[in-house]
Subunit: 338 residues, 2 copies
Amino acid sequence: MKTTMKHIAMRAGVSAATVSRVLNDKATAISVSRKTREKVQALAREMGYRPNLFAKSLRTNRSFLVGVVAWDLSDPFNGEVLRGIEQVLDEEDYSLLLNTAEASRQRMLRCLEKMSNVRADGVILMGGPETWGEKEIVGLGVDPQTLVLMGIRAQGLDASSVIVDNVLGGFLGAEYLIKLGRRSIIYVAGKEKELDMEDRLLGVRKAIGQYGAENRFSIIDAGPGENEGYTVTQEILSKTQSPMAIFGLNDMTALGIIRAVKDSGLRVPQDVAVLGFDDLSMASYLEPRLSTVHQPRLELGISAAELVVRLIDNKCKGAAKVQFHKVLNPSLVIREST
Amino acid sequence: MKTTMKHIAMRAGVSAATVSRVLNDKATAISVSRKTREKVQALAREMGYRPNLFAKSLRTNRSFLVGVVAWDLSDPFNGEVLRGIEQVLDEEDYSLLLNTAEASRQRMLRCLEKMSNVRADGVILMGGPETWGEKEIVGLGVDPQTLVLMGIRAQGLDASSVIVDNVLGGFLGAEYLIKLGRRSIIYVAGKEKELDMEDRLLGVRKAIGQYGAENRFSIIDAGPGENEGYTVTQEILSKTQSPMAIFGLNDMTALGIIRAVKDSGLRVPQDVAVLGFDDLSMASYLEPRLSTVHQPRLELGISAAELVVRLIDNKCKGAAKVQFHKVLNPSLVIREST
DNA sequence: TTGTAAGCGTTATCAG
DNA sequence: CTGATAACGCTTACAA
């Protein structure tokens, strides 16, 4: 049988209330004598006491649970993010409840519902489609006041968020390639209108403008995958004279680009410099190792978790509703492909 | 204010007990009249009732939480495994509580303690060092009866387990290379005595014996990383005549092997066929795409979760203690490097 | 078929 | 500084 406060109370010859006081008021010497405090603490340790969180939660209406709903768990992106989240949650004595939407809107909703069922104190939405309506989420019982959106900016949803600055990323990449001094530079953009991708393009445009590189720089629509990168590069190579530089909208595309360049008998980076975006783990295993715009995954997780914790605290204090929007900076990682 | 059973009871003009009965006995028409049943159900839906799991857990002593303690979350291996776990847990109405040991023994212990604090119904130990004593774990309040070890075989710890058959993996790889008909075949083994690695070597030896390939096959100790693979391959190339085949103890090593082969001016696979082990996601992005022994990650997760669920059921029924040991088969994935 | 009542282990309020 | 005592929302004998 598990030891409860009552048991300790009996053995210590005090009341359960006192035991509760000792075991909770951390380091606060107030309102309980040194002597009883120490006796209770000793007893608790000796008897292997473990607080019953159900009871505590039932009473206090707090679960010390933070839900994380991942849009797509197979995305290797997530590992580091989760690590970051877990790290701070652990410090703050929260537990992490994980759920996946498996890239399905419907399942996403179900996950949120589950979070509200277990009464998670806060929820982190990790990736996913950009369009979430206020009603969709709130109707499920999830409180936007303790909701953190990660990497997405839901429209009209009144929640906090953490994102990385894709505009800056695009800018840094383009700037770097411009300074590299190649005769022609091509940015391979995504066809679909994803917000991230639009931002990256925006950053690229900004750099072009700022450096007056309009005549050396061109932008081509392709798509976000290896194959798209491959075919678009074949086209590019048939029309453009090396040495040049190609900036892929993400690492997968860059992978296709590199393959196409090598298959056509040209060399990376001598003839064609290639730059990616994301810094997937595979980036540093490619040949040549891929230079790319690094997304701060760990920090993304850390920031998101710090945010929820702050939001939860705020809510518990009954303070006015607040909202934070944190944006993290990507950075350039130069390896061998440029 | 959240609606409780009491609220429903009042509005329905019945007692809370009846509401409880309706809302729990799933589909069981027993012991409550059709009429009240329907009234209560309708009311519950209308009022947006969500069961308070704390109260339920406090009463029933079940949390419907399954803890997953990951030895190292940055390992990209984990994404798929987690997906598998989550998938079945979700079906069975459990929630997944995630923790990381960050590759530290001490933190691992703390994680387990946390799991016992939140009273997880079951725990899955995902990877990590092999040597866990019975006492270490049990002392923390984790019940070995509902513990599943994944990918590790703790000594003297009376728990269930799921592993992949590394012996078979080694065998399949070696067999394949032998049949390939290269003049000489080298297995690059790990220096350290990890159980997995020993098993792989065992499998390799078995294949050699079975096919009488002793004269064509040799085994060299190196280590589990890219650099180790690289240097050992330089050695090999200076002593062995191509065409040959090299089997790395894992994909990272194989990566180093490929690099060394290419750097020495030889071709993969024409001069040197290279086979890996693990099937990391990067394997299919290498050039040439790496042939390797695939570990069934998703299934590993699925099996582990199915196991805990079964163990928990068993425990709840008060049945005698059981133990399951499942072993999954790896498979050969042939791509371009062989 | 239904209601009553007694907890489950904590915490908060109010006296002492 | 400490002790009763009453919740928190739910389940489960036991009665009716």
